[in-house]
């Protein structure tokens, strides 16, 4: 049981980061980015290719994250401009449909060029015993990176001027303008951050299991579930929901079965929307 829960936490930390990227973009841009998972896959493919070219892992990872971040910026600055002129549901709906289109384009192009592409970062070494459970080194690296990035994000949002500016723009965009914040610039930054987070999760995932070129949609759905359960727009909520859902997912996979697990996660999102649409932590940012 301990092993299952520990695995759940490893998975959940990554779910959390994935959800944060989704929830930030929604909180700031009012867009549910359905091309989010494609950013992850794009990063994974760039890492795989640069690794194949003989680049060191760190450089390859940096290139991957940069590519995903750039993708986010491009979408924000070009395609989504008309979306930002709309309000309310029209805005979310148009954003949803346009990013769905982007998802198809990216998926199609990647599958066309790299039909069997996959990223697997094998990290060698002896399994390490933790709480009496032998944990693989890849899992430890993945968790360590996720935890560290989570902590850095937390500090960034609490203690830096830019981080506070992001939170303020999510909470009250007019208020943010009034104190001299340019919400459009903050939003572009968040799209870049979101893309990089998706890319990072793809990289940490690949330390325990391969990330294939077809994984985009699954990443998106997972991020959507986590963001919804945590409360759309809530960073802390997404992280909490991620860890929770990670544990639920490994426990249910262990005791019930893999396909039921997906349904359990989906049901968690549906139930959250029906019972408590604000999510676990509401709109605390």
């Amino acid at each position: 049981m301990t092993a299952v829960v520990l695995d759940g936490i490893v998975l959940g930390l990554q779910f959390g980061l994935l959800g944060v990227g989704m929830t930030l973009v929604y909180g700031l841009g009012g867009v549910l980015n359905l091309a989010y998972g494609q950013a992850a896959v794009l990063a994974a493919m760039v890492v795989a290719i640069t690794l194949g070219d003989g680049a060191p892992a760190l450089v390859a990872t940096a290139a991957g994250l940069l590519a995903a971040a750039a993708g986010g910026v491009v979408i924000d600055r070009t395609l989504l401009r008309p979306v930002y002129r709309l309000r309310g549901e029209h805005r979310v709906l148009l954003g949803l449909l346009l990013t769905l289109g982007v998802a198809f384009v990216v998926d199609g192009l990647l599958l066309w060029r790299y039909p069997t592409g996959a990223l697997r970062l094998a990290i060698g070494g002896e399994a390490v015993p933790i709480l009496g459970v032998r944990m693989r080194v890849g899992s430890l690296w993945a968790s360590g990176i996720s935890l560290a990035v989570g902590a850095v994000l937390w500090l960034f949002f609490r203690a830096t001027t830019l981080g506070r500016a992001v939170r303020s723009a999510i909470q009250d965009e007019v208020g943010a303008r009034l104190i001299g914040i340019n919400p459009a610039a903050v939003r572009t930054f968040i799209f870049a951050l979101s893309g990089a987070l998706a890319g990072l999760v793809a990289v940490t995932r690949s330390m325990t299991s391969p990330v294939s070129v077809t994984a985009g949609f699954d990443f998106t759905i997972l991020a959507l579930i986590v963001a919804v359960v945590g409360g759309l727009g809530s960073v802390a909520g997404a992280f909490l929901a991620g860890v929770l859902l990670g544990i639920i997912s490994t426990v249910s996979a262990f005791y019930i079965g893999q396909y039921i697990t997906t349904i359990v996660l989906l049901a968690a999102a549906a139930l959250t929307i029906v019972m408590r649409p604000r999510g676990l932590l509401g709109r605390q940012v």
């Binding site: 401009r81 309000r87 198809f104 049901a267």
Partner: protein, 346 residues
């Protein structure tokens, strides 16, 4: 330069779809339905010899039927049901399992399967209305239903055959003939379109339009918005369920991919956006155009996905109302010009 290039402004109230008023006279209201039926009835005369082409034509018609069902739910009452494939699949799998496993007569299986899909769709609609979920949350909840259903199909191997699907052996003999199947689905399309038009013209349709235009105003005018939403959910789901059920019986086999979200829902959404959401003939135009497009793009492989994506982007960015409303407007303009020319004293 305007003050804030990025500041949200109250742009056109409804970026998607229109809510055109149907004509009053019976003949003018139904002739497009009859004309559609008559025109499409000619297709087998042209393609009848080619079995493969007829097969594609049947598939196209089935998508047309899905699109009408979705149009009733989303086009009329703005409930974003991202479970078109799942509801059709529910009908399809239920119909096959009921006749093959439970050995029911085919008709009974069809009725029960349709009832099941109707009930599930109605339930989703009821929950969405009860909890006032709005477009996006309705979309997410129905999407989770779609994906759960797909996983259930894969997981419940003994009942559904998992990934490989089910072989449909008890299929009604005449449906194996593609031409017969074509006319059966065409008949259904005519009936669905007639139902859609009748809905538009009825008191319910008036309420639908009112609540599409302005929900609050509709509510104030005494329209029971909630109830009409659920009605639309029930009727549309029934259409999806029966289409899925009949389609399953007309096929040699069904599998999860037959009804997959990426296969059915996305395509229906694009077809309808192209044709014109909420319009009578939007689904028909979408069906025909995409059938032809598929035939042209048949050898492009993955690039077809890319083209689909680009099409979605272009459609929703630049062409929000769809072909049918644009053409209708143009015809109205021509008619008005002609009238004014006649009316002008020489």
């Amino acid at each position: 330069m305007t003050a804030e290039p990025d500041a949200p402004v109250d742009a056109d109230a409804a970026p998607l779809g229109v809510s055109a008023r149907p004509p009053r006279s019976l003949a003018r209201a139904y002739w497009p339905v009859a004309a559609t039926g008559a025109l499409l009835a000619l297709v087998p005369l042209w393609l009848g010899e080619e079995r493969l082409m007829m097969r594609l034509a049947v598939d196209a018609l089935v998508f047309g039927l899905y699109a009408v069902g979705f149009n009733v739910i989303f086009g009329s009452t703005n409930q974003l049901f991202l479970c078109v494939g799942a509801l059709a699949g529910l009908g399809g799998y239920a119909a096959v399992i009921l006749t093959e496993e439970a050995a029911l007569p085919m008709a009974a299986g069809l009725v029960l399967a349709t009832a099941l899909a109707t009930a599930v769709g109605g339930l989703l609609s009821w929950v969405a209305v009860r909890r006032s979920l709005g477009v996006i949350f309705t979309g997410i909840v129905t999407l989770t239903f779609s994906l759960s259903f797909a996983n259930l199909l894969l997981g419940q191997r003994e009942l559904t055959g998992g990934e490989t699907g089910l072989v449909v052996s008890a299929g009604a003999g005449f449906l194996e003939d593609r031409i017969a199947a074509y006319y059966l689905f065409l008949g259904m399309l005519v009936v669905f379109l007639a139902v859609f038009r009748a809905l538009q013209r009825s008191h319910v349709g008036w309420a639908f339009r009112a609540l599409r235009d302005n929900e609050l105003a509709a509510e104030l005018a005494g329209v029971d918005v909630a109830r009409y939403r659920v009605y639309a959910g029930l009727i549309g789901s029934a259409m999806l369920g029966i289409t899925g059920a009949v389609y399953a019986h007309s096929n040699e086999f069904i599998s999860p991919s037959t009804f997959a979200f990426g296969h059915v829902d996305v395509r229906v959404l694009v077809m309808l956006a192209f044709g014109g959401l909420g319009t009578l003939l939007g689904p028909v135009v979408g069906t025909v155009v995409f059938a032809v497009l598929d035939e042209i793009l048949v050898d492009t492989g993955q690039l077809r996905t890319v083209l689909y994506g680009l099409l979605i982007i272009v459609l929703f960015l630049g062409f929000k109302r769809g072909v049918v409303p644009a053409v209708t407007d143009f015809l109205h303009l021509l008619a008005r010009r002609a009238r004014s020319r006649v009316g002008r004293p020489s």
